[in-house]
């Protein structure tokens, strides 16, 4: 990703510095070309988070704030090390006071998460990273006219800059909304994402550039890319185009360091045996309903084998998945009982309003894991995230102990994402009946 750093601040988490931090975020977004409303939202979210740190999260601690972005997105990264190993203040539901004053009923982090498009908390050792991302608003465009049928041989190649918005528009016009990123409605946004290296595509075209199809990818974490498509632009489609596109994407992403490609909601054109099925989960649709999709996976490297740390409560699911997928893994069973007398459970929450999805990952396990999860599930449901996902990194022994609390809160294991974390990631999703509470 070709993000540009606009500013980096090293300062103490003090209430008196809140206006400075808020202004930096606001002006940083403006410097990236954001209009007032979008820039203001990022300023407000940053103000909420920094106030939270100054008052309760890490008062007085050194904080590093980086403002970065590109033509289509602005991000504020906030890094710091809490004074004590207590990650509770970073639960989305954390309150500084237990009173029920309506003005205090929403927490600072919840407010921040609601005014940006993507809110992420992660932890590396003792350090916390809070990330606030606002996408720039672009006008939606009318669908492009149908693409003329290619003549002569068609070959797959990397999309030219001008072909990104065209192919995205054709895809959005021809396929259900859950099969393409919502950015596809805005040609300027697509162009910005492509220019920043945040969106990749191959197209199948004839000698004069008439498009027969396209396949897109977006980064999905540090080691995976998410595939969208294959999108075919004629009826009937030009024969063999989907395979051409997939081979071209795999060939171009080989030797790039990515471990694999995942298609969460592929089109029916995806060649059935080209990507292996991992399992199913629900994706939210724009109309508030959900659709079951089968995630498909394509590994790019020979699998090196590894170790999976699992709690007994999910051992059978994990072993069965590894056997079905032919993954060579040593399964280490970790009881993972929470430390007695420690009430400090914390989950990082990533809220993606563009995709309509929320995702929980463990930060710290305490004896209050079940209560904490129930509170988080209720808060997310109140914010319209009824089928949140939760991920346990099987490469992290400390994650194993969260499984019982997740199961008790109504989450069920859905599938394994190979190498999506330090090791494989076990994906849970809140069951439908629980989500309707």
């Amino acid at each position: 990703m070709a993000d540009r750093t606009i500013a980096e601040l090293h300062l103490a988490a003090l209430p008196s510095l809140v206006p400075l931090v808020s202004a930096a975020a606001l002006e940083g977004a403006r410097a990236l070309g954001f209009k007032e409303e979008d820039a203001g939202a990022l300023g407000v979210a940053t103000e909420e988070v920094f106030s939270h740190l100054a008052l309760s999260g890490a008062p007085g601690r050194e904080v590093v704030i980086r403002i970065l972005g590109s033509r289509w997105r602005a991000e504020v990264e906030i890094r710091f090390t809490p004074e004590h190993v207590d990650f509770r203040p970073f639960n989305l539901t954390f309150r500084t006071t237990p009173d029920d004053d309506p003005l205090l009923s929403r927490t600072a982090l919840a407010i921040a998460s609601q005014v940006v498009d993507r809110f992420r908390i992660s932890r590396r050792a003792e350090q916390i990273l809070l990330s606030l991302t606002k996408e720039r608003s672009f006008p939606k465009a009318a669908p492009p006219p149908p693409e003329p049928r290619p003549e002569g041989p068609v070959s797959a190649r990397a999309a030219q800059p001008h072909e990104f918005p065209l192919a995205a528009g054709l895809a959005a016009a021809r396929y259900p909304a859950e099969q393409w990123p919502r950015a596809f409605e805005s040609p300027e946004k697509v162009a910005g994402m492509a220019a920043a290296g945040d969106l990749g595509a191959v197209v199948a075209a004839d000698a004069v550039g008439r498009l027969a199809g396209a396949l897109f990818w977006l980064p999905a974490g540090a080691r995976m890319a998410g595939l969208f498509g294959p999108f075919l632009f004629q009826d009937p489609p030009v024969e063999g185009v989907a395979s051409l596109l997939l081979d071209a994407v795999v060939g171009s992403l080989a030797r790039t360091g990515l471990e694999g490609l995942i298609a969460r909601s592929p089109t029916s054109a995806l060649p059935s045996r080209a990507m292996e099925p991992l399992g199913t989960f629900e994706v939210p649709l724009a109309d508030g309903t959900a659709r079951t999709v089968e995630a498909r996976y394509r590994q790019l490297d020979e699998d090196p084998g590894g170790v999976a740390h699992v709690h007994p409560s999910v051992e059978a699911f994990v072993r069965d998945s590894f056997r079905r997928l032919s993954f060579g893994r040593v399964v280490r069973v970790v009881p993972g009982s929470p430390p007695s007398g420690d009430g400090g459970t914390a989950f990082a929450t990533e809220v993606d309003r563009v995709a309509g999805q929320a995702r929980l990952t463990p930060l710290w396990l305490g004896s209050d894991a079940r209560e904490m999860l129930r509170g988080l599930v209720d808060a997310l449901a109140a914010d319209s995230f009824r089928r949140p996902l939760a991920e346990l990194d099987l490469g992290e022994p400390s994650h194993a102990g969260f499984a019982p609390a997740l199961l008790e809160a109504g989450f069920v294991p859905r599938l394994i994402l190979p190498w999506a974390g330090n090791g494989d990631v076990l994906l849970f999703q809140l069951a439908a009946e629980t989500g309707r509470r």
């Binding site: 080989a254 030797r255 360091g257 490297d301 084998g305 032919s326 060579g328």
Partner: protein, 368 residues
């Protein structure tokens, strides 16, 4: 604790590079995949092992010599090889496998802003070594499965320092015949170094295959790579070499840290050269087992690509990385070819007959 920001001192081209992850040792892999034996058909090793004379060297190596530095420039081995090939020993430079000589050539001739030219689907180490050295890599698509003469020439410019040609090509087994190679060298016309990687040359039996060494007198910009890892069965000892015009090799030698080739490797390679039976025996085995394998794969209606060398490529109806895992569960290790930019293909090394039979049976079960 000292403050240290590692990223601040790491060059961008190193930061961006993904380290190669070698496969785990066999016992680890067998435990991971739950198998009691493993056929290694992934690295194009010689199933017959080293020549008998080299095996004798390994058996009789005096342990006290483990404390003594080897010849720093493989003195006796260069002298013997020079006699055998009809070249001055100073035209030969040994490395810790031919892979080391790739790095030596790049270090000798390339600096930031320079580029190399090679094919997109060939041995990956040229590309990797250049990238993590900060050298631009210009990849030319294969044409009909072969290195593309016109495409390669079109990408050469004044900053091109090295052109790598894998002949025969790993993994397609295709090669440039003598006329094609001479035409290419004539049109390069001394503008850049041309490396001819002949790692699999000893397997080639076609009469029109050009041994690069014979062209050195007329082409002082030509460098030939050879290895003891394939035909000679000494992959575990890591020994390979380059041959070129004397001044060119002297230049490359300046970038070489001596003693990188160990004493056992030098002694074993020296003995290997004098074994008259090893090459014919290996060729016969490869010829016979390749024919068997191609026949079986044909019976399964699987497309194959097979030229010179001790390997065959097979196109599968499932992803190659999935096939790798499924075959590992069957105790057979092949090479998934996505990393060679052949998605959906695997490469199988030619092994002894029992290994070939086991592979065929495992592949049938995998594709059921």
């Amino acid at each position: 604790m000292t403050s240290f920001v590692l990223d601040a001192i790491v060059p961008e081209f190193v930061r961006q590079f993904k380290a190669y992850v070698p496969s785990r040792p066999d016992p680890e892999l067998m435990a991971l995949y739950g198998v009691s034996r493993l056929h290694r058909l992934n690295n194009n090793e010689n199933p017959l092992g080293p020549p008998a004379a080299a095996q004798e060297v390994l058996r009789r190596f005096p342990p006290p010599l483990g404390a003594v530095y080897p010849s720093g420039d493989s003195f006796y081995l260069r002298r013997r090889l020079g006699e055998r090939l009809g070249v001055d020993p100073d035209q030969i430079l040994f490395g810790n496998g031919a892979n080391e000589t790739i790095g030596l050539v790049l270090k000798a001739f390339c600096r930031e802003g320079d580029n190399i030219v090679t094919a997109d689907r060939t041995f990956a180490v040229y590309e990797w070594t250049a990238r993590f050295s900060g050298v631009e890599v210009r990849l030319v698509p294969l044409r009909d499965g072969r290195f593309d003469v016109e495409g390669m020439l079109a990408r050469i410019d004044e900053r091109t320092k090295v052109v790598f040609v894998c002949n025969p090509n790993n993994p397609t087994g295709t090669y440039w015949d003598r006329a094609t190679l001479l035409d290419f060298l004539a049109r390069v016309d001394g503008r850049t170094i041309v490396v001819l990687d002949e790692a699999y040359a000893e397997f080639v039996e076609s009469p029109d295959y050009p041994e690069g060494i014979s062209l050195l007198p007329e082409h002082p910009n030509l460098v030939v790579f050879r290895t003891f890892s394939k035909m000679w069965g000494l992959a575990g000892l890591r020994i390979g070499y380059l041959i070129g015009e004397r001044n060119l090799v002297d230049t490359v030698r300046r970038t070489c840290i001596v003693y990188s080739v160990n004493i056992v490797a030098q002694e074993a390679a020296l003995a290997a050269l004098d074994d008259p039976e090893h090459v014919p025996a290996t060729r016969a085995l490869v010829r016979g087992e390749k024919a068997y394998l191609l026949s079986e794969l044909g019976a399964m209606s699987l497309p194959t690509a097979s030229g010179e060398g001790n390997f065959v490529m097979v196109e599968l109806p499932i992803s190659d990385t999935l096939a790798y895992r499924k075959l590992m569960r069957e105790g057979v290790m092949i090479r998934a070819m996505t990393d060679f930019r052949f998605p959906g293909w695997i490469r199988v090394s030619i092994g002894c007959h029992d290994a070939m039979e086991d592979f065929v049976a495992a592949l049938r079960r995998t594709l059921e």
